[in-house]
Amino acid sequence: MSVLVYIDTADGHVKKASLEAMTYGSKIAEQIGTSAEAVVLGPVNDDLTSLGKYGIKKIYNVANDSLNHLDAQVYTKVVAQVADAAGAKVIVFSNNTNGKAIAPRLSARLKAGFVSGAVALPETSPGFTVKKSVFSAKAFANVSVNTDIKIIALNPNAYQTIATDGTAEVISFNANVDPPKVKVTNVTKASGEVPLTEAEIVVSAGRGMKGPENWGMVEELAKTLHAATACSRPVADAHWRPHNEHVGQTGIAIAPNLYIAIGISGAIQHLAGVNRSKVIVVINKDPEAPFFKAADYGIVGDAFEVVPKFTEAIKKLKGVS
């Protein structure tokens, strides 16, 4: 018996969201009196043994040329084989792009109850109930899982990573791997920048910026804070910024520690994508902007004056001029 955590990688590196999933999985293992193990598919450059510090005792590594890119069908069959070998009772994914492709497939394959978007540890005595985000983060649901094997996809940034001491045993696992039916032909990445869904701080701007030529100050603020940049829907629809920066109900949902909204009024559809942020700062010249109601801190003022001053004040705090 074990708790099995799926470790997701990008370019051979373990994703931050997976560190959260490992910490979360090891806490569940403690709760139900078993050990936490993990599975990683494809090429890995990081030192896997060091992942023991997130509470993982054993890591199954499956290396095979057919696993170099995600084909959810192929990956699912491999994870199912590892889950069987590990005697997994709970399988934890991050609810990120790859988790969303694999976890529901695995649920159907193993006929194991699946809760996606988990935000807290499950209640395990009695029963097994997981708190998840619903209604685009406007509410929570407590969902009971009725099957022997349970699958959980943990929302990114919903559970704090804890690193302690420990070393994981890494074993090379021989799985039957089907040839992929999905062939990846091109990968485009915003290089050197923080991926939006993994960013601790996000600086976002809206129509109040008046045009794409004024984004320099937004990017400067983001750079100063090591933050990712985002935008509202009208900005993406007007092609001022790329669509993959659009946060909100129909864009990307994020949950950073700090969300700074500049010149965004805060329509309910926008809030749906950002209201899991821990701290929200709103800069808007309209004191009636609905976003102030959802904010922790706010400045009623002209972004073109406030933002450069804000950047300078942060540089001063950080000791850079």
């Binding site: 990008a10 994703k15 969201a17 890119h69 084909d71 069908q73 990120n96 969303k100 492709a101 529901p104 497939r105 695995l106 649920s107 159907a108 394959r109 109850g113 699946f114 996606s116 978007g117 985000s133 619903v134 685009s136 406007k138 509410a139 929570f140 649901a141 407590n142 969902v143 899982v145 009725n146 039916k181 999905v182 062939k183 091109n186 990968v187 485009t188 990445k189 915003a190 991926p195 869904t197 993994e198 701080i201 669509h243 993959n244 109900q249 864009g251 520690n257 700090l258 309910i268 559809q269 700062v281 102030f292 904010a295 922790d296 801190y297 400045i299 003022g301 406030v306 804000f310 004040a313």
Partner: protein, 247 residues
């Protein structure tokens, strides 16, 4: 080319979220119901675009729900589906719903199944993946672009901090998100035509529910915004550093 588009009924994006029956049920009182935006704007409209490019494309819609889902299906038909199938069952367990759709998909032998990337109420992102596994088909989640190329499809999907373009042999299951197509509204001709398009109601097959919603809760209300003078921006930095510990 036969495409099955999965449609779900959800509360409007601006609906007030409240619960009844001791916080065990969503309070639908006064709520306007819409087609789940991901199902409508991205998967259905992209399917319609494919049909516009090639008149031989046939679009079937499927939903799992009670008769109160019919107005939503008629609206989807008004946008451009050819016929619709409603599985007459009410369930919030994704495995149960996926099992019903899988049965419809098997009987219709489709080349392509589209779902939205998630519903805006339960945010499960589950149906597409489960369906693909039940049908033993390839699955691409979170697609933002989709082109047909003979018996293959060229699909762009979201990855953390970027996107990936892939080729997949059909049949396949695709979950759709922003980028696939632009939102449309039905025109009068579509609305008139939808009245006579077939809406077939079928009874559910026997399937298990693997999960159940026990209760709902609302997040605690925010303490209220702390406003800082625009002439004193360094105070905001101090608060974020010392009080919120966010920078």
């Amino acid at each position: 080319m036969k495409i099955l588009v999965c449609i779900s009924k959800t509360p409007d994006t601006t609906a007030k979220i409240a619960f009844t029956d001791n916080n065990t049920k969503f309070d639908g009182n006064g709520v306007q119901w819409i087609i789940n935006p991901y199902d409508e704007w991205y998967s259905l409209v992209r399917a319609i675009e494919l049909k516009e490019a090639d008149a031989s494309v046939v679009i079937h819609l499927v939903t799992v729900g009670a008769a109160d889902a019919d107005p939503i299906i008629r609206k989807a038909l008004a946008l451009g589906g050819d016929e619709a199938i409603r599985v007459n069952a009410d369930s919030h367990d994704s495995y149960y719903v996926a099992s019903q759709i899988a049965e419809v998909a098997k009987q219709g032998s489709y080349d392509l199944v589209f779902t939205g990337k998630e519903t805006i109420d339960y945010n499960g992102s589950s149906i597409g993946g489960m369906l693909a596994e039940l049908l033993d088909l390839p699955y691409i989640a979170l697609a933002s672009k989709f082109e047909l190329a003979g018996t293959k499809a060229i699909v762009t999907r979201e990855i953390e901090g970027g996107e990936e373009t892939c080729e997949v042999a059909l049949p396949a299951v695709i979950s759709c998100q922003k980028g696939m197509a632009e939102a449309r509204i039905p025109n009068m001709r579509g609305i008139m035509a939808a009245r006579t398009k077939p809406l077939k109601v079928v009874e559910p097959v026997s399937a298990d529910s693997l999960t159940g919603i026990q209760s709902f809760s609302l997040p605690p209300a925010k303490a209220g915004v702390k406003l800082v003078d625009p002439e004193n921006v360094s105070e905001l930095v101090r608060l974020l550093h010392e009080e919120a510990k966010a920078i």
